[in-house]
């Protein structure tokens, strides 16, 4: 079961400031292990975020996003108490969705 995301969503005026820390190995497929074998690629390919039934962020990622990705974005239309949901999908078909309440 993939690591849960740590999501912080805070009102900054009328803008929701979102900071996310995801747990993911983000393996490029170009790294070699101790025996000299290529470690297969395994990385997040897409991230989406929804608030109040609306997509507020959609991103396509490649393997060069750093391991344990940090991601921040900001949007209008959310208010204190609303729920923000973030989903990622990776190259193995794994997916993870986490939710937070906007503060």
């Amino acid at each position: 079961m993939p690591d849960p995301m740590r999501i912080r969503a805070v009102m900054m005026g009328d803008v929701v400031d979102v900071k996310i820390l995801m747990g993911h190995v983000m393996e490029t497929g170009q790294r070699k292990d101790a025996e000299g074998n290529l470690v297969p690629a395994h990385y997040i390919v897409s991230v989406t975020a929804n608030c109040n039934g609306k997509t507020v962020m959609a991103a396509e990622w490649g393997p060069s996003v750093s391991k344990n990705p940090y991601f921040s974005f900001r949007f209008k239309g959310g208010a204190k108490g609303d729920k923000l949901s973030v989903t990622w999908k990776d190259t193995d078909g794994e997916t993870r969705t986490d939710e937070t309440t906007i503060h």
Partner: protein, 154 residues
Amino acid sequence: MYPSRRRFLTLASQLSVAALGAASGLWTRIAVAADPRAAFEATDLKQALANIGVTEMKDSADIALKTPDIAENGAVVPVEVSSSLPGTRSIAVLVEKNPHQLSAEFSIPEGTEAFVATRVKVAETSLIHAVVKTDAGVFHTARTVKVTLGGCGG
């Protein structure tokens, strides 16, 4: 006989449109819609840009690209892009000297700020490009990041 002839003619005309499209560069934009992941496989900056539908871009001072001048650890280089260009629809981050240049492409829906921050791997000292698609065209800025310890695990 009629259905197969019609089908043959339709297919032939589609193929010739595709051929024309390929010649004019239109095909790359259609290919992006059909397979947005192809852009992440590109090993050349122009190809990566073409795969996200970009064939020309204008430099803009209205894109604030924040990167460190020197990254001690190329595996974790912070990148922040903020666009004050009206009608910003997407922000893409590309690392010129990486084996695959395209790092990420962020869609900016209505109501979302044209702002993203993340961390990327930078293999060696390189230009980092921020490419911003707007309703008025595609704009660009870039900054060099000096890397002392390469970021691709090599």
